[in-house]
């Protein structure tokens, strides 16, 4: 059974890490979670991002959910926002595509152009 004492250990570990590398977020992932996105599988897309972050121990990535923004025909839609770079929007996402984006874009820094549906703001 998980207890709040487990959280204390996690906090201590995370604080140590942040002392070493600074607490900055390198990439922000925003998953569109409007009605049409949810119906098209956005929850599984969100879950796969969280799984990959946990499995690969990515500590400088942030994931949030947002409502839909008028790209309904390309749902599920995901934005990747990096400091100093134009925003990249991936569309028609699936758990498999998420795994590829995590490896290529987030870990290796290469945009997966096949899945991009928009860039910039």
């Amino acid at each position: 059974m998980k207890t709040l004492a487990d959280l204390k250990k996690i906090r201590e570990k995370a604080q140590e890490e942040m002392k070493l590398r600074g607490g900055n977020t390198r990439i922000k992932i925003v998953v569109g979670m409007g009605t049409s996105g949810i119906a098209m599988g956005a929850r599984e897309v969100m879950k796969t991002f969280l799984e990959e972050i946990a499995n690969r121990n990515l500590t400088d990535v942030l994931v949030t959910q947002t409502g839909e923004k008028g790209l309904s025909s390309m749902e599920p839609v995901v934005d990747l926002i990096e400091e100093g770079k134009p925003k990249v929007t991936y569309g028609n996402m699936t758990p498999e595509k998420v795994k590829k984006v995590v490896v290529e874009h987030i870990v290796n820094g290469r945009t997966v152009s096949d899945y991009v549906v928009a860039t910039g703001n």
Binding site: L4, L7, K13, I38, R43, M46, L50, I53, T64, Q65
Partner: protein, 189 residues
Amino acid sequence: MQDISLHLLDIIENSVRAQAKNIKVRVVRNVHLNRLRIIVEDDGVGMDSHTIEMAQNPFYTSKEEREKKVGLGIPLFKQNAELSDGCFKMASEPGFGTVLTVDFKLDHIDRMPLGNLKDTLLGAIIGHPEVDFNINLTTKEKGVEQSFHFDTAAIKEELGGIPLTYPDVIEYIDQSLFEGIQNTNMEDV
């Protein structure tokens, strides 16, 4: 939507968009009453009585920017509840928040499955770190009541400034929800 937990996710997103800071989610599976009840209560901006009525109409949306005026989230949830001899109720007060209560007849042949409650709650909690979630799952079966309670405000306090997307935190929340869902027999409803 294929299952109830996807509708739940959709409703939670409505609460977030209504600027809720606290969202309470209750799932009560009562075998004696043959009822599966979902309650979502938020402290968002709320709605007046006219807006509540309009929200149940598929050709209404509160999204100003939208060209085609459709909003299917609430009407579809309502329809799916009513198809299984259930009911759908929304109560709200502008400035105070909204409470949504949706009942399903547990053994009705047309009732959708509850689905993956864990991934719905995990995504909502981590995807909206600015919102505090208070989750309660209860099963009443064979005269025994089992409950699971999960309060994210306490977790955030314990974590200090560590983000919810920190890998070990994701695993902690995932595992806690998994155990809670198992202990209340909600994994295959």
